[in-house]
């Protein structure tokens, strides 16, 4: 999680970027590349050229917006808002092209033969290898609506507060919590057979 000192550093870097300092951008990229790339990859269903392209676009947008940057919230909130805009546009365009989304991606982001059936036909307790579990989680994640997917990622992985998540998504705090609740219910239904004991 980004502490206050790092947060201050981010604002200073953006001010330097606004003055045309490319070295400041490089520092900012190194500091936040895993956060942005990881979020993009989680949202679009895996790492790869698309994730790389989108993550690069996030930093280029930050660079262009730097001269007019006003620190109204934490830098990471702004960074995630820019990421959200690009990723949601990408998801919308992709969903127009692809109707069927029942695919399973392997660890390299490649499509796996068989998709959902290969995961669900087996009893997970008989053969619950790490890879199968990963596939099932990815599939469940892919079936979440994009806002729910982002809320879960920001909460579980980035450990953001709901007030920040609400700003990223442009909803109320209650709305963000409601999205989290619905995501939890969806994931429970999809991953029910992987539960080791009733919850």
């Amino acid at each position: 999680m980004v502490n206050e000192r790092e947060g201050d550093g981010d604002d200073a870097l953006v001010v330097r970027m606004g003055q045309g300092d490319e070295e400041a951008l490089r520092e900012l990229i190194i500091r936040h590349q895993d956060r942005v790339y990881g979020t993009v990859a989680r949202m679009i269903g895996g790492a790869g050229p698309d994730a790389e392209d989108l993550a690069q676009q996030v930093f280029l947008r930050i660079w262009r917006a730097a001269p007019t940057y006003r620190a109204r919230a934490k830098f990471t909130t702004w960074l995630m808002t820019v990421t959200r805009n690009l990723v949601f546009t990408f998801c919308d365009n992709r969903s127009k092209r692809l109707v069927v989304s029942d695919v399973v991606l392997d660890e390299e982001g490649e499509e796996v033969e068989g998709g959902q059936e290969s995961v669900m036909e087996r009893n997970p307790r008989d053969d619950l290898s790490g890879k199968e579990l990963v596939q099932a989680v990815r599939l469940a994640c892919a079936h979440l609506p994009k806002k729910q997917r982002l809320v879960v990622h920001l909460r579980e992985h980035e450990e953001m507060e709901f007030s920040e998540i609400a700003k990223v998504l442009g909803v109320s705090e209650l709305g963000a919590k409601s999205l989290m609740f619905r995501a939890r219910e969806n994931l429970k239904n999809r991953l029910a057979e992987f539960f080791t004991e009733p919850s």
Binding site: E22, L25, R26, I29, I30, Q33, D34, V36, Y37, G38, T39, A41, R42, G46, A47, A51, E52, A55, Q56, F59, L60, W63, G130, L133, V134, V137, R138, C141, V152, H153, R155, E156, H157, E159, F162, K177, M180, A183, R184, L187, K188, L191, F194, F195, T196, E197, S199
Partner: protein, 104 residues
Amino acid sequence: MKKTRDEGGDGLGPQLGRLWAADPVAKAPPWFAAKTMARLRREEDRKRGWFGLPRWVLLGAGAAILAVGWLRWDSQPSVADAELFAALDAMVEEDRESRWWAGL
């Protein structure tokens, strides 16, 4: 201390949280920063034209030169026009003489 997502029931909960964490989040490739910086420079260069001026300035200047040139050319009668009118006058005169000669 790391906050557990169970607190207040606002996270995925312990079991779902563990399942979710089974799929690790991807990390940026090692070349990511270098490639992004190269892309930035490429895009900045594309926006610039000759002499380090932005492309829109050069395009605007070019369009202004063409517009001024066209207006100046259009407002002056050309030699070609004068010759054309003289030739037409001569033809009319010749036709009038021919009709007189023929007693028309």
